[in-house]
Amino acid sequence: MGEIKFENLRIPILKANELIANKLREKWDKEKTFVMNFISSPGAGKTSLIEKILNYFKEFKIIVLVGDIETERDAERIRKKGFESIQIITGGACHLEAVMIDQVISKLKDRYDFIFIENVGNLVCPSVYNLGENLRFTLLSVPEGDDKPKKYPRAFLTSNAFIITKIDLLPYLPFNVENVKKEAKEINPSLKIFETSALKEIGIEEVSNFIKEERENWIKGI
């Protein structure tokens, strides 16, 4: 019986998640599948935004993966629009991990142009887990308040784009768009910012164009 000590290891505890995320990334690079991860609190409007964005993606082969603690509700909403959708019921977990995506992806037979991943409604935990995505979006709705970026910096820090949702409610609520944009940019200066309303169809085309442009640039670079 003896002892061994390993020092200066510097192994991230999320190493296992990273390995699976990298494996997914390799598969998607090979298949030219563009993947997005949508993060927000519950009720910020992820499903409503995705529903509207999908109107601009009718010519593409798409699947929407939706994470929730319980129920098939969100996936049903997407299917009603005529798109494929799979509900990932986490059974209590407050975020999606790469292994959950891998389990679903490994069962799919088709190749997709785009995969939309709607994470579990939570502004904290999902930001820690890389799912191998190309683009990460953080959404914040007007009713949630404009003080959120610095309270939940990691979501903003790790995202490519920040989408303010429900801007049709601006006349009724104290929400300073310029302040929230400034605060988000202080955390992540490279954030692309959009102002949207799914209900009034504002800003949806801009987000859709951004996704398509990002995919074009990515394909050129592979």
């Binding site: 003896g2 002892e3 061994i4 510097r10 991990e97 904290v124 935990c125 930001s127 955390i187």
Partner: protein, 115 residues
């Protein structure tokens, strides 16, 4: 609360190292928790105490946690600095586009095992 999930991830990662080294038991794990990791240290310790009981090689394991300052490298002048808060502006050249080096993750620094 993702500390429980993170602790499970920690145990899985350490378990992999144990198997790789043919060790019997884990004696001690030293973690470094970054200033901006967004993690509650006490919840990690608490989750570890519960989870270690479920796995034989971890039953006697001690978890030591240290705090780690953030380190950021300026993409313009290469200066490395320790920010206290956002925005991470380089104190040398005031550049705002910077690369995060340390202090955003939870890192396993040391593992002691019994073979």
């Amino acid at each position: 609360m993702h500390e429980y999930s993170l602790t499970l991830n920690l145990i899985e990662t350490v378990e992999e190292e144990r198997i790789k080294n043919n060790a019997k038991k884990i004696k001690k794990i030293s973690l470094k928790i970054g200033k901006f990791s967004g993690v509650e240290t006490i919840l990690i310790s608490h989750s570890f105490e519960i989870l270690k009981k479920e796995r034989e090689p971890f039953k006697e394991a001690e978890l030591q946690i240290e705090f780690e300052d953030a380190e950021v490298k300026c993409k313009n002048c290469g200066n490395i600095f320790k920010p206290d808060d956002f925005p991470f502006i380089c104190p040398n050249c005031e550049n705002i586009y910077n690369e995060i080096i340390k202090g955003f993750d939870i890192i396993i620094e040391k593992i002691e095992m019994e073979i």
